[in-house]
Amino acid sequence: MHMADALLSPAVGATLWTGTLGAIAYCTRKLRNNIDEKIIPLMGILGAFIFAAQMINFTIPGTGSSGHIGGGMLLAILLGPYAGFITIASVLIIQSLFFADGGILALGCNIWNLGIYPCFIAYPLIFKLLVKEDLSKSRITLASVMSVVTALQLGAFSVVVETLLSGRSELPFGAFTAMMLPIHLAIGLVEGFITAGVVNYVRSARPEIIKSTFDSKPLAPAVSIRKVVLTLGIAALITGGSLSWFASTHPDGLEWSVEKVHGSPELSSSETGITAMFEKIQTMTALLPDYGFRQEEGAEGTAGAKSWPAVNSGTSISGVIGSLMVLGTVLLIGLFIRSGNRSRAKG
């Protein structure tokens, strides 16, 4: 359930990036002030371990198809929230670059969805509370399953919200949620039992590792309720902020999608809503000062106030030819530079 660049609008991508960067900065500060040197290689190795474990496929019960684990909660349990979060973030960066999973802009969302929830919600509020001092097998199993399921549900729900806020997909809120949550409930249960199994395995093979994770301060800095509330507050602020800002530019934000399902003809007004939102983004980020240019031109070409560009076949043919010219030119430039590579290699 990696979020993808293509489904995102710059505003949503940037907002989640801001939240994620904040969390990374917070965690690195925490780690710097309170570090056991040993954790530095441990974090790197456990991150690599997650990839390695993902390479081992298993048969998903009842389906016959094979799957691999995500492992976010496992990292949170083994490393504690701060080190766990940094490690999950690094894993996702490698995934986005080497595995093309998600994309660079969506990375902010993915770190948020797959990192914040396991480390700062499921771990302190569910896992820790359920396990407390009791390291029995059944306790660990219960706590692992509950926390993995919760973290994944929150993550899946966030994918829905991020996609809807971005407005690239027509999927209505209700249907999308109804699709994502049950799937991720099933996934969460499987992953939860696997997480529990692995944690229990380590507990029996090397009990001191699990114990040190729970006891030692540096490995798992005690998470105070105040800080959790603070973190949650910031999280809520960012999500809520972007939500309300979306709502204000587009009052019927979520209903708009629902209407679409019923084939409501209110399309054009909602489109201007989206456009209005984009214009707002543009003034906010000031990245694209003349954003509206193409829309205005487009609007002239079509009847009504629709936001897509001019679509008479004249312009589209010229567009195709123009695009080919551009790409052809780039091709030539590239080949020219390539021959430069060659001669340089020889020289």
Binding site: P10, I56, I94, A100, I194, P309, M325
Partner: protein, 266 residues
Amino acid sequence: MSAFNPEYFNIGHLDTLSYRHTFVHDLNPVIKLIVTLVFILLVVSFPKYEIQGIVPFFMFPLFMIIAGEIPAGVIFKKLLVVSPFVLFIGIFNPMLDKEIIYRVFGVPVSGGWISYGSLIIRFILTVSSALLLIATTSFPGICLALEKLRVPKIFIVQLLFLYRYTFVLAEEVMKIIKARNMRSFGKKGKDIKSFISITGVLLVRSIERSERIYQAICSRGFDGQIRLLKDFRLRGTDILFALVTISIFIIFRKYAIADMLGGLLI
């Protein structure tokens, strides 16, 4: 947890490509990172129903593939592997948005198909530009770029460790899988129970390895800090590359250059 696809994990090829030397490979990694980010941001900033405006943006991946001598097949395969989620989410657009907004030689096209097409183009552009970044920049180079961009040190160190040991553990896990497959006939051995014990063994071994690594880095004077030496020069070529590409992107984002050029020809 998600579906298993071995191609997904084939990172060795991209990594090997990234250590070559071409005009693109030799560009300053900070510059390449920034240009790629600007590119992605501009591509996704197009409105939902835009196709014509986005198509010229293929110039960037095209340029990287040709000037960076990257086999297009590698990138294409990776794209295919990760495409299902986006394709799946997007397919609802033509199903839900049926208003006809466009006619190509008389054939009606609904808004949903246009936005779906646009989505796929965005997907190809954003994902391929990320892949091309890593295929033309060594991962340590990217980490260095991140350091230059003030990403916290401890985070960079994590990335470096992760990169290094992903290859080591991948090799280890391949051996385990081979052993498992040799001893398990048919489906047996791939059930969750044996998966858990294999993963458990791997995890304990990994933790033990991290202890040995800690011992090795201590022996070489580790004091909690990891220092990096490398430095990349910022050459005139790098700045020129950034200026030219970014301004071209912005111009193409703001004006329908392709339309105008085509119009001139017609």
